[in-house]
Amino acid sequence: MIKITTKNKSNIIKIMIFFFAFAGFCALLIYALSKNMVYFYTPTQIINKEAPVGSFIRIGGMVKKNSVIRSKDSLKVSFKIHDLEQVINVSYDGILPDLFGEGQGVVMTGKLLDTKNFIADEVLAKHDENYMPPEVADMMKEKNKEMYKK
């Protein structure tokens, strides 16, 4: 049997403190992570109601040709994005990135209003003529494959 001497006792207390600190830290970390994870959805997934309405998500796609409508005197802008199958309406109030353009790939973070409309907080398009956001590139690859099968 292990004798609990004073030295052992203080060691046990130290280990306990360490253990609880560690557990507390892990809980904090998981909490923070779960609060700040943003999931990515494609327009097709949104139309299929896979994305929770009203939540904060990332979506990506290509900007539809001739769909960009700008307001005359404010920064409000609306456009449509598609993934070759489905189309989502996006509205945004802010400065669009330099490389935003019709036919270009974009990734946006924002709130999903319903299964058709999205309000963007942040619009990303990269500084490169050939660049396509990896999420969009993957998505397009899959879509092309499916179409090819059909």
Partner: protein, 650 residues
């Protein structure tokens, strides 16, 4: 011709680094003196060869030699000479060559400046360095050779990525790399120590200077990177928790922890195996950083290469290095004990907590950076972890450390007069709280709780460090206080200066973060807008044609109470070759604030979208970083304690 010479030099360097690595197996055959001699000879030769091949690449860029694929892809006849030069490390191949050059230079540095270490340790260190060099040289030759040809030879190059055509980018990558690669020194030291199974305090103080040295470069590299992002990306931000930024920040946190734990190891002979473990982890984090940046698996402004093969190669090496060194650590670390019996209290305890928190923060950032990658590779859904996660974790971990800085400065080793400490510090803390409360209420009429806490702690740290300096210098050798400051031992000065730097940095971060004013508006020519106490008038937009880009330059005049202050010339550039549009912000900096103007879209003939920021105290970021770097320099080059004591005795 240049291809053959370059490949030839690099191949010889590879062969030599294999020989250098092989020295580690000749322990029984060759005596230690000649082993060391071989290693030193090899490392200097390797450095020389890589340096020559690097010069070859530079000359290829300067002479527009587009027969090299790398030059053709990243340069252009009309590029400014200075950017032709910096284009050498503007993309993957060249930056890996720079990486290896720096690695070999650090190796040569160790070979030259290691007289205080025993010969076996130095030769083992260099042999391990040989292994690292071997890997990276093979990597260059097999998958990222900057000397590859292109056929047919293009008449003109594809130009350097316009984002990289900025003064900040000329020195940012080399600085960052020097710091990154510098973490290899504690690593090879750790491996050599573990192989030999013995340790000595004086070796640790040798190591500490090298660690501080690479910390200084890493700090410089990271702050230059932020400075570049702030000026060049046109969003007014300076830190985005972008995975690549995290990749450089994790080694920084971990080397900071190492720097502190080495102090304890050196002074008290404890925490040694922890320091050794940290040394291994720091280098692993830098390798991980290289993997993340170079594999192209990340979405980032920094990720240029998109070659999975390269990523796989680095990943394999990473696994090999981490696996084998950790195995070695668990087999051997128990030999690295100088003191068996000790209690942890006072300064040791504070530094232990510092290390604990820094390690935890590193781990949390690692988790946030890797989680999206893991989740997407396991098909758990495509996730991104937002900046709020990192901000929350970072703030909640850093504020306790900052709080502990002041007691750590005032406490002694083993025993501390807590009564005196509490009395002294509570007065300083009280004043800091009052000052930050008054400051926030007078200037910003708000008191956001977190800002109040952060500001109080920052002022607390600055005050207590300054008080400490005054306290020591009052009792110094000379009557002149200023002279006494310069007579202080480097270790004390570096400690206090860097901590003041942290305080200044926190002030900059908090206030610029919470009290910036941001306006994104549509402006017509000859209209005005007021931000804070400054009126900004949009005068005109002019076209400008340069060598490799054309741009539209906005002209804005700023007035304060009808007095003309300054003009702003933000630009919207279109680069001829890659057809990229780039925003060049115009910034007017003064001690307490920056005004930042960037052009957005051109809506019609005379109306533009304009982005205007008023950023208070943002300059404090650069001041804080500068103080930390200065502190680091004192730590390396400052007077050491012995000479100070000798002076006091005489």
């Amino acid at each position: 011709m240049i291809t053959e010479i370059g490949n030839f030099l690099l191949s010889i360097a590879t062969a030599l680094s294999f020989c250098m690595f092989f020295v580690i197996f000749t322990e029984k055959i060759i005596n230690v003196g000649s082993r060391l001699l071989f290693c030193k000879l090899f490392i200097h030769l390797i450095t020389f060869l890589i340096f020559i091949s690097f010069c070859l690449l530079i000359s290829a860029f300067l002479t527009d030699n587009f027969s090299l694929r790398y030059v053709a892809n990243n340069s252009n006849i009309s590029l400014d000479t200075i950017y032709k030069f910096s284009a050498v490390w503007g993309a993957h191949e060249g930056s890996i060559l720079l990486w290896v050059l720096i690695l070999s230079l650090w190796g040569s540095g160790v070979a030259l400046l290691s007289k205080n270490l025993p010969k076996t340790i130095v030769s083992d260190m260099l042999a391990v360095m040989g292994f690292l060099l071997l890997f990276f040289l093979l990597f260059i030759l097999l998958s990222s050779n900057p000397f590859d040809r292109i056929f047919p030879v293009p008449l003109n190059g594809r130009d350097l990525n316009p984002l990289l055509q900025d003064p900040g980018l000329i020195i940012h990558p080399p600085m960052l790399y020097i710091g990154y690669v510098g973490t290899s020194i504690p690593f090879i030291f750790a491996i050599a120590i573990l192989l030999n199974g013995k340790i000595n305090i004086t070796w640790l103080s040798w190591l500490r200077k090298w660690v501080i040295c690479s910390w200084v470069f890493l700090t410089m590299g990271i702050s230059l990177g932020s400075w570049w992002a702030y000026h060049e990306l046109g969003w007014g931000g300076w830190w985005f928790w972008d995975p690549v930024e995290n990749a450089s920040f994790m080694p920084w946190l971990s080397i900071t922890a190492l720097m502190h734990s080495l102090i304890v190891s050196e002074k008290r002979g404890i925490f040694i195996s922890w320091s050794i473990l940290l040394a291994i982890l720091t280098f692993s984090l830098s390798l991980l950083g290289t993997f993340l940046v170079r594999s192209g698996i990340l979405v980032s402004v920094h990720a240029f290469a998109n070659d999975p093969e390269r990523g796989l190669y680095i990943l394999l090496f990473l696994t090999l290095i981490i696996g084998s060194s950790l195995l070695l650590y668990f087999l051997r670390s128990r030999y690295l004990v100088i003191k068996d019996n000790y209690s942890i209290s006072s300064k040791e305890l504070m530094l232990l907590i510092n290390n604990l928190f820094l390690t935890i923060t590193t781990f949390a950032i690692l988790l946030g950076t890797l989680y999206p990658l893991i989740s997407s590779s396991l098909d758990l859904g495509k996730i991104s972890v937002g900046a709020p996660y990192f901000n929350f974790i970072f703030a909640s971990m850093m504020l306790p450390i900052v709080f502990l800085m002041s007691p750590a400065i005032y406490s002694g080793w083993q025993n501390t007069n807590y009564k005196y400490l509490t009395k002294k510090l509570s007065i300083i803390l009280f004043y800091s709280i009052i000052i930050s409360y008054i400051f926030l209420n007078v200037f910003y009429q708000t008191d956001i709780f977190i800002v109040f806490i952060a500001l109080s702690l920052a002022i607390f740290t600055i005050f207590s460090s300054v008080m400490k300096i005054l306290q020591i210098t009052k009792n110094g050798a000379s009557k002149n206080i200023i002279k006494n400051i310069f007579l202080l031992p480097g270790s004390i000065l570096s400690n206090l200066l860097s901590h003041i730097g942290i305080g200044v940095l926190i002030i900059g971060i908090t206030i610029s973060n919470y009290y910036s004013i941001q306006k994104e508006v549509v402006m017509k020519k000859n209209t005005e807008i007021t931000i804070k106490d400054t009126t900004i008038r949009f005068v005109n937009v002019k076209r400008k044609i340069e060598n490799n880009y054309s741009s539209q330059v906005g002209i804005f005049d700023a007035f304060s109470e009808n007095n003309y202050l300054v003009s702003f010339f933000p630009e919207k550039r279109t680069y001829n070759i890659q057809k990229n549009v780039m925003t060049e912000a115009a910034i007017d900096s003064s001690f307490f604030r920056d005004i930042y103007i960037a052009l957005g879209e051109n809506l019609s003939e005379d109306s533009w979208v304009v982005r205007i920021y008023y950023k208070p105290y943002i300059q404090f970021l650069w001041y804080g970083a500068a103080l930390m770097i200065l502190g680091g320099l004192f730590g390396i080059f400052g007077r050491n304690k012995l000479s100070q004591n000798a002076q006091n005795d005489s």
